[in-house]
Symmetry: C2
Subunit: 226 residues, 2 copies
């Protein structure tokens, strides 16, 4: 059952190849034959192991989702221990760190997976995959954000999360645009660089929106701070 050369089963080889190609060219930009040729197996294997091309995408997506969900929850629980109010930046970190860690040390498979995530998250056709696979844990994360910002309007927290996940997925999209834009001063592959900046940026954003909203409701009609 495992391939002679690689020791991996045809099913796994299909998942790997599909992951890589879907990430690079999108679901519709890749044919079943592209995938099976890259995996070194027969075309019929997709139907046999997964049932359809679409089901293969679902399988690719689900394969790594649970691992992320588990570690996100672990880290979130760890931030709860001890003190009273949750620390905002720590909550943000517990959400992003499982991704950054695998981006830095998880190999090509994880990188492709995140690039695929970016496309799925921004597509009306496939975004439901995000909802299905990640939103149960995202709800707990948003709860935690609300605890860290007890005075914030819930809508501010949702919008803040929305901004956060937009920034996060683009960071992993591997489009090379930031590299080109900055004349190679910044590298999308520089995971330490983004690691150092992401949580402070988002935490400050959350805090500012929550603050603005509170101040606005109390006294002045327009912004109080700047």
């Amino acid at each position: 059952m495992p391939n002679r050369k690689t020791g991996r089963s045809a099913k796994d080889r299909l998942l790997d190849a599909a992951e890589r190609l879907f990430a690079k060219r999108g679901y519709h930009g890749v044919s079943i034959r592209d995938i099976t040729e890259a995996a070194g197996v027969d075309v019929a294997m997709v139907s046999y192991h997964f049932g359809s091309k679409r089901a293969l995408l679902t399988a690719v997506f689900e394969r790594r989702a649970e691992e992320i969900n588990v570690e996100r929850l672990e880290r979130l629980e760890a931030t709860r221990r001890g003190r009273g109010r949750l620390d905002l930046e720590q909550v943000v970190n517990s959400f992003m760190e499982p991704l950054f860690e695998r981006m830095a040390r998880g190999g090509r498979g994880w990188k492709s997976y995140f690039a695929l995530l970016a496309q799925v998250n921004n597509s009306p056709e496939f975004a439901v995959l995000m909802t299905r696979n990640f939103d149960p844990v995202v709800h707990k994360f948003i709860e935690a954000l609300q605890s860290a910002l007890p005075d914030a309007d819930p809508r501010d927290v949702y919008w803040g999360y929305h901004f956060l996940t937009g920034a996060l997925t683009l960071t992993f999209a591997e489009t090379g645009r930031l590299d080109r834009l900055s004349g190679q001063l910044c590298r999308s592959t520089d995971s330490d660089g983004v690691r150092a900046r992401f949580a402070p940026f988002m935490a400050a954003g959350f805090a500012a929106v929550a603050r603005r909203r509170v101040g606005e409701a109390a006294a002045a009609p327009r912004r109080a701070r700047r």
Copy 2:
């Protein structure tokens, strides 16, 4: 030349239909026949007017880009007048407001365009379209951000812009995910809601990262290069 019923030329009808369908299902998810049927013209018209399917995408993309670029620059210039240092939040606003305004009042065409933008921006295959059509103006915008944050490391400004554009494009992607996630408490279509939160969130993020970097540089040495 213009269609009897609509008064629009076949070329324009093709651009409209392609814009709508590409936004909904992605470039590869739409066939030339899908587009020409929706536009009510013959299949051959794509080749005739644009040369190829790919060139049609390019044309769709370019059609509205210049209008955005012009207004972004106008608004940016307007923020320069008068005072000395540029106001960070105003700079961010000058960048996003042309989009928000058209999202709110620009009709279905503009909405589709922005949803397409979101997919293109997050795709390795097409992201070069963003570079080609928007980066000349983005460079000026980043210059302005740097003026508003004179002590910030340029890399912090680039990364901040990267986070900003990721959040911005997802906001326009019309995936419905935020709506589902928040139980319809937040609506992607609520342009006033995002308008009120976006610039404060991003401005605070920029400021926080710049601040952190400055404090850090004074005390502890960061890694040099790699």
